[in-house]
C-alpha cells in the first residue's frame, strides 16, 4: 500500500503573477514571499537570497518599474503587477546594455550581488537615464557587494550605452 505523504500544511490561494511578460497561475501559501515563489515555485533562481531581511538587495526585482526587495514582498501583493527579474533582461545571446556594461567593466566578481545590482540599476536608469555619480551611488546604496568595492559597478552604470 502506498503511504501518502502530505506536504500541504498551509492555506493556499490561487494567484496570477506576471513575470517578465508571462503570466503564471499558481497556488501559493498566503505567507510566501515573492522571492520564495520566484525561486522555489517558478524556477527564477537568478534572484538571490543574501539575507532574507531586506538588508542586502540581492533579491531586488522591479515591480511596475520600481526596485523592491522581493524577500520583503508577499507574493500575494504582487498579483497582477508587472514583475521583472534578471532573467527577463537579455534576449537570447544578446545581453541587455546594463548587463553588457557590467561584463565589460569588470563589475562582476562572484556575481552573487550582480542580479540585484543590475535590477536596481535598471530601476534607476529607466527613470533617470543620465544620473550623476552621486545619484548612481545613492541608487545602488541598498545593494551590498562584498567583493568589488563598487568602483567598477559605478563605472559600468555610468557607461551603459543608449541610456
Amino acid at each position: 500500500m502506498i503511504k501518502l505523504e502530505k506536504e500541504v500544511i498551509n492555506v493556499k490561494r490561487l494567484i496570477e503573477l506576471i513575470v517578465n511578460g508571462m503570466s503564471y497561475e499558481i497556488a501559493v501559501d498566503t505567507h510566501r514571499t515573492l522571492l520564495e515563489v520566484l525561486r522555489d515555485n517558478l524556477g527564477f533562481t537568478g534572484t538571490k537570497n543574501g539575507c532574507d531581511q531586506g538588508e542586502c538587495g540581492s533579491c531586488t526585482v522591479l515591480i511596475d518599474g520600481r526596485a523592491v526587495h522581493s524577500c520583503l514582498t508577499l507574493a500575494m501583493d504582487a498579483q497582477g503587477k508587472n514583475i521583472e527579474t534578471i532573467e527577463g533582461l537579455s534576449e537570447g545571446e544578446k545581453l541587455h546594455p546594463i548587463q553588457q556594461s557590467f561584463v565589460d567593466h569588470g563589475a562582476i566578481q562572484c556575481g552573487f550581488c550582480t542580479p540585484g545590482m543590475i535590477m536596481s540599476s535598471k530601476g534607476l536608469l529607466d527613470k533617470n537615464p543620465s544620473p550623476t555619480e552621486d545619484e548612481i551611488k545613492r541608487g545602488i546604496s541598498g545593494n551590498l557587494c562584498r567583493c568589488t568595492g563598487y568602483v567598477k559597478i559605478v563605472d559600468a552604470i555610468k557607461a551603459v550605452e543608449g541610456r
Binding site: 505523504e5 506536504e7 537570497n49 543574501g50 527579474t85 537579455s90 563598487y150
Partner: protein, 767 residues
C-alpha cells in the same frame, strides 16, 4: 614583453552567465525528492550535554531524520593536521558544547519550516559550565577548562616563541625604544552568499556534494575521514560561489557534514542553507588579537629590533589557528629590514565563535601595530613617515632575519608612487582643519606551500586537453569564488598555447574530474594553479611541437605558438594552424588524445621548529596613502581619497587586479571604521546586516590604484599574489591619517565616532 593575452583586461568567458542570473549557485539546485536540513545549536557558551531526546521531533509529520553526535563516528576534525595540536572539533557535539552556536543536532524534513519546527521539539538537557570570553582571562590559573587535551594548559592551544637575531643586544644598541599595545576586533567575512551545501547520497553508495567552498579537496578529505567513506565514494563540486575571503577555506563546515550525513541516513538529497544570522555568528571570524609591540631604532630611524607578543583568540576551536599563530613572522620580518625580532604568540581558547583565516590572514593585526608604531617613532625622531619607511624598506632578493629569501620586490617604488600620487609632501605641509593623510604598508605571501592535511606539500596540478577543432579544455581544481581565477588561468593557458582566450574552456573544482588543487586560500591560486596550468599547457604544446618539427623538418627550439598557429620563429608561413597541429599529433599517435599534464610544487624550506625559512616562493608588497576628513563634533571619519600602490609581480589582468584592490579597500575601510562582531557573554549581538554594517557605495573613497610591476621569476609570467595582502595597509593608513588630522592616536580598532570623541576629550584634558 610582447604578450598576446597577458596584461589585457578580459572578462571571464562565463561572466554573461553571472550577469543574466543563469549562473547556478548551490542554492539554485533543486533535486527530485530533496529534503531541507536545519541545525540545532547550543544556546549556552559552555555546557555538558546530559541527554538529547529527539522523539518528539521525529514524530512531527514531514520530518525524515534527526541526527546527533551519536549518529556520527565521533571523529574530530579541524583545518591543520600537521601542526600539533590540530583537530579538536566534532561536526556534531559529543558530550560538550563550547560556544553559543555549537552544533548539537541536525534535522532533515520536507520543508525548511518543518525542519525549523522540529528543532524546537528536540529536547536537550544541559549542565551549564562556567565560561570564559577573553583570552587573557582564559589564561589565568583557575579559568574554566574548555578542552580536556593533554597538551593544553591554561587554555593555551599553542604557544610559539621565535628568536631571530640578537634581540637583547639590539635593544641595548638602540637610541630610542618604545612600547605600545594594540587591539584588533573580531570581524566577519560576510560573503554575500551564506554557507550552503547540497548532498546527494545515491543507491550505489556515492556521495555527491555541491557546496559553497574555497577548497573542495579539503572538504573531500574531511568527509572521507569523518564519514568513514572511501575517496572514490565522494564527489565534491564547487558551483558558482558567492565570495569567501577565508570564510570557507577551513577544511569542512558543519553545513557540509550535516547535509552529507542526513543524505546518507535518508537516501535523499538534502540541502542546508545557513541563515544570515548563522553565517555571521557561527562561521569563522577574523581572530581578535591583542598585540604588544616594542621596537628599538637608531636616531636616524633605522630599525634594530622588534619584540611582538600576540594574544590570538581562537574561540572554541582551533580551526586555522595553529597556522594563524605561526605565519605573522612574515609580516614582522619581510616588509621591513629589521635585523632582529622576537615573536611570542599565544593561541588561546575561549567560549566564543571560532576564528579562522581571513583575507590578510594573521598579518593585518601585527601590521596594524607596526605601521602605527612606525609613525609614532617617526614623529618622535622628527622623520617623515614615508621617509622612515623607505629607509627600512625591504629590497629585492634579500634574506630576512627569519631566513626568508625574498624574491622580487617593488616595495620602495610602491612607497614612492603612493607618496607622489597623493601629493604627500604638499599635503603634509598644508592640510585643512580636520583633514589628514596617512600611510599603511604590507608584504604578503603568494601562497603557502603547505598542505594542511599532512601531504608533503600544498602542490597544485592541472591538465590541458587539446581538441581537434583547435579549442582547449583546462581542468583545474582551483576554485573561482569571485576573485576571477577561471579567467586568470584561462589567460595563462591561452598565452602559453598561443591561442585566444575565447578558445579556452575551463572546468574548475570538481574532485571527480579535476586534478588536485588545495583551493583558494593564502592567496595561492595565481602562483600555484597558474604555474600548474602553465606547465600543463607547455607539456601539451611540446607534444604539438614534436609533430610539427618532424613535418617541417625544423628544430623544436625554433618553433613558436602564436595567433593560433605553430610556426618557425620569424617566418609565420612556415608552419600550420594550431588545429591542424592537434589533428596531426593525434594521427601520428594512433589517435591518442593530446593531453598535457602539469603541476607546481615549489621547493621552499620552512623550519617548523625554529620558524625560519620560506613558506612561499614570492611576496607581494604595497603602500597605501589615505586621506581622511574628521568631524570633531560628531567623531565621524570620512575617507574621500586613497592611493593604493601594489607590487603584484605582473598584472595578468589589470582590471581584475584593480578589482581586488578596490574590494580590499572596501573591506579594510569597514574594518577601520565600522565593523565589529559585538558580543555579550559569547552571544553575538549584531548578526544581521542591519546591525553588522559594512561600506555601501556611498562610503567608498575615490581610489587611485597603481600596479607596480616587479615580475618574480617564480610566478607565472612573473605574477605574484594580489587580493589578500591588499586589505592590510588600509586600516593603518586610515589610523595614521586620523592622527594627522586631529592629533589623536587610536590603537584599538575600529575607529568609531565614540572612540574618536573620547580620545579628543582626553587630549583636551591633557592640554
Amino acid at each position: 614583453m610582447g604578450f598576446s593575452v597577458i596584461g589585457k583586461s578580459l572578462p571571464r568567458k562565463d561572466d554573461p552567465l553571472r550577469a543574466t542570473g543563469k549562473a547556478k549557485f548551490t542554492a539554485d539546485f533543486f533535486l527530485p525528492g530533496m529534503l531541507y536540513g536545519k541545525i540545532l545549536r547550543s544556546p549556552y557558551p559552555h555546557a555538558r550535554i546530559l541527554n538529547i531526546d529527539t522523539t518528539k521531533a521525529e514524530r512531527l509529520s514531514g520530518v525524515k531524520k534527526v541526527v546527533t553526535g551519536k549518529d556520527t563516528l565521533g571523529i574530530k576534525f579541524g583545518v591543520t593536521g600537521f601542526i600539533p595540536p590540530s583537530f579538536d572539533e566534532y561536526a556534531l557535539a559529543i558530550e560538550k558544547v563550547r560556544y553559543i552556536g555549537d552544533e548539537v543536532a541536525a534535522v532533515a524534513a520536507i520543508s525548511e519550516e518543518i525542519a525549523e519546527e522540529a528543532l524546537d521539539l528536540i529536547e536537550v538537557e544541559y549542565e551549564q559550565l562556567p565560561a570564559v570570553f577573553d583570552p587573557i582571562e582564559a589564561m589565568k590559573p583557575g579559568a574554566p577548562e574548555i578542552h580536556d587535551l593533554e597538551h593544553v594548559k591554561n587554555n593555551i592551544s599553542l604557544y610559539v616563541d621565535r628568536n631571530f637575531g640578537d634581540v637583547e643586544k639590539a635593544f641595548k644598541d638602540a637610541d630610542y625604544v618604545r612600547e605600545d599595545e594594540f587591539y584588533c576586533q573580531p570581524v566577519d567575512h560576510a560573503p554575500m552568499e551564506a554557507h550552503v551545501s547540497l548532498a546527494d547520497y545515491d543507491v550505489s553508495g556515492k556521495l555527491t556534494l555541491w557546496t559553497s567552498t574555497q577548497s573542495p579537496y579539503y572538504v573531500h578529505k574531511h568527509l572521507e575521514r569523518t564519514l568513514g567513506l572511501k575517496e572514490s565514494q565522494i564527489r565534491v563540486i564547487k558551483p558558482y560561489t558567492g565570495g569567501g575571503f577565508g570564510d570557507r577555506a577551513g577544511g569542512m563546515s558543519a553545513c557540509e557534514f550535516c547535509a552529507a550525513l542526513l543524505s546518507i541516513k535518508t537516501g535523499r538529497p538534502v540541502r542546508i542553507s545557513y541563515t544570515r544570522e548563522e553565517e555571521t555568528s557561527t562561521s569563522p571570524r577574523r581572530h581578535p588579537m591583542k598585540v604588544y609591540l616594542k621596537s628599538g631604532v637608531k636616531k636616524d630611524g633605522t630599525l634594530l629590533a622588534s619584540h611582538y607578543k600576540l594574544f590570538a583568540d581562537t574561540g572554541a576551536y582551533n580551526n586555522y589557528g595553529c597556522v594563524s599563530i605561526n605565519i605573522p613572522i612574515e609580516a614582522m620580518t619581510v616588509t621591513y629590514r629589521v635585523p632582529s625580532v622576537r615573536y611570542e604568540g599565544y593561541l588561546v581558547y575561549t567560549n566564543t565563535q571560532p576564528s579562522g583565516a581571513m583575507r590578510g590572514h594573521a598579518h593585518n593585526q601585527p601590521s596594524f601595530a607596526l605601521d602605527t608604531q612606525l609613525d609614532l617613532i617617526a614623529e618622535e625622531l622628527g622623520i617623515d613617515p614615508i621617509d622612515i619607511r623607505i629607509k627600512n624598506a625591504r629590497q629585492e632578493y634579500e634574506t630576512s632575519c627569519s631566513k626568508i629569501i625574498v624574491g622580487s620586490c617593488g616595495f620602495t617604488r610602491c612607497l614612492e608612487q603612493s607618496r607622489d600620487l597623493s601629493d604627500w609632501n604638499n599635503r603634509k605641509k598644508k592640510q585643512k582643519q580636520g583633514r589628514g593623510i596617512g600611510v599603511g604598508t604590507m608584504s604578503f605571501a603568494s601562497g603557502a606551500a603547505f598542505n594542511f592535511f599532512g601531504a608533503p606539500s600544498g602542490y597544485s596540478a592541472a591538465t590541458v586537453r587539446l581538441l581537434d577543432d583547435g579549442t582547449v579544455t583546462v581542468l583545474t581544481g582551483a576554485s573561482d569564488i569571485g576573485q576571477g581565477s577561471d579567467g586568470t588561468l584561462s589567460m595563462i593557458a591561452a598565452e602559453e598555447l598561443g591561442v585566444s582566450m575565447n578558445d579556452i574552456r575551463i572546468i574548475s573544482a570538481d574532485t571527480e574530474l579535476t586534478p588536485v588543487d588545495y583551493g583558494s586560500y593564502s592567496s595561492r591560486v595565481t602562483m600555484f594553479a597558474g604555474n600548474a596550468v602553465k606547465s600543463a599547457a607547455s607539456d601539451a604544446k611540446m607534444q604539438l611541437f614534436e609533430t610539427v618539427a618532424k613535418k617541417l623538418e625544423a628544430n623544436i627550439e625554433d618553433l613558436e605558438a602564436k595567433d593560433r598557429r605553430i610556426y618557425v620563429k620569424g617566418s609565420i608561413e612556415k608552419g600550420m594552424s594550431f588545429a591542424e597541429a592537434i589533428c596531426e599529433t593525434m594521427a601520428a599517435n594512433k589517435m591518442m588524445p593530446v593531453i598535457g599534464k602539469g603541476n607546481y610544487n615549489p621547493h621552499v624550506q620552512f623550519n617548523m621548529l625554529t620558524g625560519e625559512g620560506n613558506c612561499t616562493p614570492a611576496y607581494s608588497f604595497a603602500s597605501y596613502v589615505a586621506e581622511v576628513e574628521v568631524d570633531k563634533e560628531t567623531g565621524v571619519v570620512k575617507v574621500p581619497y586613497l592611493v593604493a600602490a601594489h607590487d603584484c609581480g605582473r598584472a595578468i589582468n589589470p582590471t581584475r587586479v584593480e578589482g581586488q584592490l578596490e574590494g580590499s579597500v572596501q573591506m579594510g575601510l569597514g574594518h577601520a571604521l565600522m565593523e565589529e562582531l559585538v558580543m555579550d557573554k559569547g552571544l553575538v549581538l549584531n548578526s544581521s546586516f542591519l546591525d553588522y554594517k559594512f561600506p555601501t557605495a556611498l562610503e567608498m573613497p575615490s581610489i587611485k590604484s597603481v600596479v607596480v610591476e616587479a615580475p618574480d621569476p617564480h610566478g607565472p609570467f612573473g605574477a605574484k599574489e594580489s587580493g589578500e595582502g591588499t586589505t592590510i595597509p588600509v586600516v593603518p593608513s586610515i589610523g595614521n591619517a586620523i592622527y594627522d588630522a586631529i592629533g589623536v592616536r587610536l590603537k584599538e580598532m575600529p575607529f568609531t565616532p565614540e572612540k574618536i570623541l573620547k580620545a579628543l576629550e582626553e587630549k583636551e584634558k591633557r592640554t
